[in-house]
Structures are given as structure tokens and as C-alpha cells.
């Protein structure tokens, strides 16, 4: 018998936990950058279309798969998907739903620990006397580990371990007593902090507190539509990708949370409420902070240049400096709120990542909740230390790319086919609408069966063979040169090998050779983890057979 006796405390708690699972750092750091890079205000059109035809269907698929598996006492994807079809191989596809979470948690908790550390540094005034270069330099020193800024030796490692301990302890308190309680406090605070910073983002005046632009300049930059971009497949691919990552679908966490919902209870309205809450945080709050504030103080050109390397740089290397343009007191408060909201966005997601592994151990090997939680903390620590120690050699990015990007698309593609075509749309529709507190539009039968899997297939193929500079016109006319960001070129380390061939400086050559080694080593490590989980699933299956449970 499974030792898993978890339950949600309340419906609102479940929705906040599910929204917290979806709301992550990407809502504040990735979305605005994607919008800027892909047509400004026109990006929102493909983004919302993809939400309607891919995001919402995937949410309903995952919620109903989870609740369906929960009826049979399964709380992790290997055996949830196993209940949906007799083919024994499906459970190994389900391994993605545990592996992704462990691998993503390993590096995600590291960023989460930065936010925790930056909250503390904002309070003690570390950034108040630094100029912009000083704040950027602080970040570089921080991730290079050697420099201690608070007098704590190996400060990033200490904060990383603290963050892991906090996550593990909360997980050990259970769903209602731990995860849900954090979501009930964290989500309202996140929205409150976000609303304050969005207000500041909307009220910047040129010439006041060192600002060089009004808020309107940044908002124009973000929202002015470039409708020509609407015809670009690259923009649609970016929009589909953003919807995908923002909702935390294809991870196995939604299945796990939903597996604790009884079959007579609603999932259709719950999924809508949690999904739209995530959209509110992303589109309304996420779009109103990073870009308007940065452009207000740095100008369009600087920010255009800076967003090429993503939102992390702006968030950690620039905003702490800009906040102190508002004075020491408001600067401190703004720093605490910014990194506080990123921390809550992070922890509500990382907690969700722990639950599939814990559910698996409790269901299959009768582990107690506390032991399962601590085992998660330990594995994440071991797997995460390379991202901390070898950050500059690209280990972090490698985890993010394979576990946090590619694997999500693969698993979501498989699950949408399983749900609509193997399990069958008739049974699937019954699962979605059973106990529903809203009327689910019938058009979604068609969308879930045809549009969503096709869109996912397109996202996967588009990422596999992305043409150079996203020039699909040239590619389709016969000149298909792969971009360095395509999965195939990434796998072959094309960009790294080119840099290595072109490098002449011995120090640079050594750095690139080390990077190549660590990139390949981290891939091997990730494969070993995947195979180990698959082996555990096999052992669990054999155990079930022995016990006559199959």
C-alpha cells in the first residue's frame, strides 16, 4: 500500500499553488525580452492565439491526466501515463515528468538562491554606494564564488544550500501544510510587490531622479506593434515557446498536483483560473517592470543591446543600481520587492518540482514523506553543485537547454498524442468535463485532437532544424543552413567548435576547451540521471507485478 495520504487544504489553495507552479522567473525576465525581440505589441497576438490553442488545451490535458492517474493511486507521470494505455513503454516516456523536475530544480534553485541573497544585500545596502559597473561587477564576483561580500566564505554555495534546505523542509511539511501554505502567502505578496513596481514603471518622468526618458518611451518600445513580424514563423515559434514555458506544461508538475483531486471535483475551471492568473502576472505585471524602468534610465539603445543576452543580466546587474536612483529608502524597498517577488515566483515553482519525485517514492517504494523530501533535496544538491561550481563553463545553460527547454516540448508532444489519439478523445473529453464547474467549449475537442499536437510538432521540428537567423524563406527555397540555436547544431557543439577554431589567445582556447568538456560532461550526467530514474521505474513495475498489483 502506498504511504501517500496527501491532500489539498482548499480549492483556492490548490489554484494558488498551481498558479505559483506556473508563475516563475520567466514571467518577469523572459516574457518582456521575447516581446521586444519579436515585434513588440504584435507579439501579443500570436502569444494569445498560442495560449488559446496550445496552452489551455495542454492545461486541460495535464489536469485531467493527473486526476485520472490519481484515481488509481498514482502521483507521478510514469504510472499516470501507464494507466492510460496498455503498452508498457509509455511509463518510460513518463520518466520525463520526474527527470525534468530534478534537473531543472538543480539549476533553478541556484537562481532562486541569488534572489534570496540579493534580498539580503538590498536590505544591508550593498548596492546603495555602487555605480552601474559596480553592481554588474558584484554579480560577476558573486557567481565566480571566490569573493565573499558579506564576510561569508563561499557565499553563493551557502545561499544555494540554504535555499535547498528551505525547499526541502517545506516539502517535508506536505501539500496542505507546506506547499499550499507557501503559495497562499507567496502569491498575494508577489502580486502586491509586482503592482508596486509596475506603478513605478508607469510613472517615470524624464529629468526626475536621473531618468532620461518618460515611462512612455519604454512602454512604446514594448507595445508598439510591428505587424510585418506577424508573418514571420520565428515570431510564432517564439510565442508558442513562451506560452509553453510560462505555463510549466510538459514538466509533470501539473499532473502531480492534479492527481490529488478527486474525480467528482472540478478541474476545468481550476485550470482556467490558475492559467489566467499566470497570464495576469506575465502580461500585466511582467511587462510593466523590467523594460519600462530600464529604458527610463538607460535609453532604448542600451537596453536593446542588453536584452540580446536575455533578462537575467538586466534583473541582477542593472535593476539594483536603477532602484537606488529613487533614493536610499525607496531603493531598498524596491530591491527587496523585486528580488522578493522573484524569490516567491521561484520557490512556488521549485516546490512543485519536488512533488513528482516524492509522489513516486511514496507510491512505489512506500517511503515516508519526510524521507522522500530529503532525498529530493540531496539529489538536487548533488546534481546542482556542478551548475554552481562550473557556472562559467556553461553547465547551467546546458541543464536549462536540455532539461528546461527541449525535454518539455518532447514530453508535451507525447502526452498530447497519448491523450487525444491513444487514450482517445471520447474518454479524454469525459475526463476534462467530469465534475466541471464551467461549460467547456466543444470546439476544444477538435483543437485538442488536431491543432495542439500539430502545433507542438511544429515547435519541436522548428527547434530541431531552425534555419540560420530564423530565415524560413531562404530555408524553404532550398538554402537550409542550420542556425547555431537549432537542436542539431547544439548537440554537435557547432558554435563552440567554431569559436575554438577561430580563437588565437591561449587563455581563450583553454577556456573554450574547458567549456566543451563541461558541456559534454553535463550531458552525460543528465543522461545517467534519466536512465537511473527509468531503472527505478522498471524496478517499481516488477515490484507491482510481484505484489499482484498489475
Amino acid at each position: 500500500m502506498s504511504t501517500n495520504k496527501e491532500s489539498w487544504g482548499s480549492r483556492v489553495g490548490l489554484i494558488l499553488a498551481m498558479a505559483g507552479n506556473a508563475v516563475g522567473l520567466g514571467n518577469f525576465l523572459r516574457f518582456p525580452v521575447q516581446a521586444v525581440q519579436n515585434g513588440g505589441g504584435a507579439f501579443i497576438i500570436p502569444y494569445l492565439v498560442c495560449f488559446l490553442v496550445m496552452g489551455i488545451p495542454l492545461l486541460w490535458i495535464e489536469w485531467s491526466m493527473g486526476r485520472f492517474g490519481g484515481k488509481f493511486g498514482h502521483h507521478s507521470t510514469p504510472f499516470i501515463v501507464d494507466t492510460m494505455h496498455k503498452n508498457r513503454l509509455w511509463k518510460y516516456i513518463g520518466v520525463f515528468g520526474i527527470w525534468t523536475n530534478i534537473a531543472v530544480a538543480a539549476y533553478y534553485c541556484y537562481i532562486e538562491s541569488w534572489t534570496l541573497s540579493y534580498v539580503l544585500h538590498s536590505i544591508v545596502g550593498t548596492f546603495s554606494d555602487l555605480d552601474q559597473q559596480g553592481v554588474a561587477g558584484f554579480f560577476s564576483d558573486y557567481v565566480s564564488i571566490g569573493t565573499s561580500t558579506l564576510g561569508i566564505p563561499y557565499e553563493p554555495i551557502v545561499f544555494y544550500v540554504l535555499c535547498l534546505l528551505l525547499n526541502t523542509w517545506i516539502l517535508s511539511q506536505g501539500l496542505a501544510g507546506g506547499v499550499e501554505r507557501v503559495a497562499k502567502v507567496g502569491m498575494p505578496l508577489l502580486i502586491l510587490f509586482g503592482a508596486f513596481l509596475a506603478f513605478k514603471g508607469f510613472t517615470i518622468e524624464a529629468g526626475v531622479d536621473g531618468a532620461i526618458n518618460d515611462s512612455a518611451v519604454g512602454l512604446n518600445f514594448l507595445w508598439t506593434p510591428n505587424f510585418d513580424e506577424l508573418w514571420s514563423p520565428t515570431v510564432w515559434l517564439a510565442a508558442a515557446g513562451q506560452i509553453f514555458f510560462t505555463l510549466s506544461v510538459g514538466m509533470g508538475t501539473v499532473h502531480c498536483y492534479a492527481s490529488y483531486v478527486r474525480s467528482k471535483d472540478d478541474i476545468a475551471l481550476n485550470a482556467m483560473s490558475a492559467g489566467w492568473m499566470n497570464e495576469f502576472v506575465e502580461v500585466v505585471l511582467g511587462a510593466s517592470i523590467l523594460i519600462p524602468i530600464s529604458i527610463g534610465y538607460l535609453g532604448v539603445d542600451r537596453v536593446t543591446e542588453m536584452v540580446q543576452s536575455g533578462g537575467l543580466g538586466l534583473a541582477f546587474q542593472t535593476l539594483p543600481y536603477l532602484f537606488f536612483q529613487w533614493g536610499d529608502v525607496i531603493g531598498t524597498f524596491a530591491g527587496v520587492m523585486w528580488f522578493g517577488l522573484l524569490f516567491f515566483a521561484g520557490i512556488t515553482s521549485s516546490l512543485a518540482m519536488g512533488t513528482p519525485w516524492m509522489g513516486f517514492l511514496q507510491d512505489e517504494f512506500n517511503w515516508k514523506r519526510k524521507s522522500a523530501a530529503w532525498s529530493f533535496g540531496l539529489i538536487v544538491f548533488v546534481l546542482g553543485m556542478p551548475t554552481v561550481l562550473f557556472f562559467k563553463y556553461g553547465v547551467f545553460d546546458e541543464y536549462d537547454y536540455w532539461a528546461g527547454t527541449v525535454s518539455l516540448v518532447i514530453f508535451a508532444l507525447f502526452e498530447s498524442i497519448l491523450f487525444a489519439w491513444v487514450f482517445g478523445m471520447k474518454k479524454g473529453w469525459r475526463e476534462i468535463t467530469s465534475g466541471a464547474d464551467i461549460r467547456v467549449p466543444g470546439i476544444y475537442k477538435f483543437i485538442i485532437k488536431f491543432i495542439t499536437p500539430l502545433l507542438l510538432l511544429w515547435v519541436f521540428v522548428g527547434s530541431l532544424v531552425t534555419p540560420k537567423d530564423g530565415d524560413w524563406g531562404a530555408a524553404l527555397s532550398g538554402n537550409w543552413v542550420l542556425d547555431d540555436s537549432s537542436i542539431i547544431n547544439k548537440l554537435n557543439n557547432v558554435s563552440l567548435k567554431r569559436q575554438l577554431a577561430e580563437a588565437t589567445d591561449p587563455a581563450m582556447i583553454e577556456q573554450l576547451q574547458n567549456t566543451l568538456f563541461f558541456v559534454n560532461a553535463s550531458r552525460i550526467l543528465l543522461v545517467i540521471v534519466f536512465l537511473s530514474i527509468a531503472a527505478l521505474v522498471y524496478i517499481a513495475y516488477k515490484k507491482r507485478v510481484r505484489e499482484g498489483r498489475i
Partner: protein
């Protein structure tokens, strides 16, 4: 702000905020199902129990 940016921003933000509030309002105002349900809160409230036949 220029007009097109303002229109797109306000339309999007109002639509997303409105839909979020609408669904959350639905959650708060939908009567709970009788016990046993999925949630621990209110497990012991008499009016939530299935009547004995």
C-alpha cells in the same frame, strides 16, 4: 505613448485582468461539492456532508 501601442496595451491588459478576475470569481462563488471532496478544509462542517438515505 503612441496610439497603436496604447490601444494594444490597454486592450490586452484589460482583457487579461478581466478574464482572470472572472474565473477567480467563479471559483469563489461556485458552491462546494458535498463531502468527501478533495479538500481538507471544512471536512467536518455538517452542511457539507452527503445526507443519509
Amino acid at each position: 505613448m503612441n496610439t497603436s501601442a496604447l490601444v494594444i496595451m490597454l486592450t490586452t491588459m484589460l482583457m487579461v485582468t478581466g478574464t482572470t478576475l472572472y474565473f477567480f470569481y467563479q471559483v469563489l462563488n461556485t458552491p462546494p461539492k458535498p463531502e468527501p471532496d478533495s479538500y481538507l478544509d471544512n471536512d467536518d462542517e455538517a452542511e457539507r456532508q452527503i445526507p443519509n438515505h
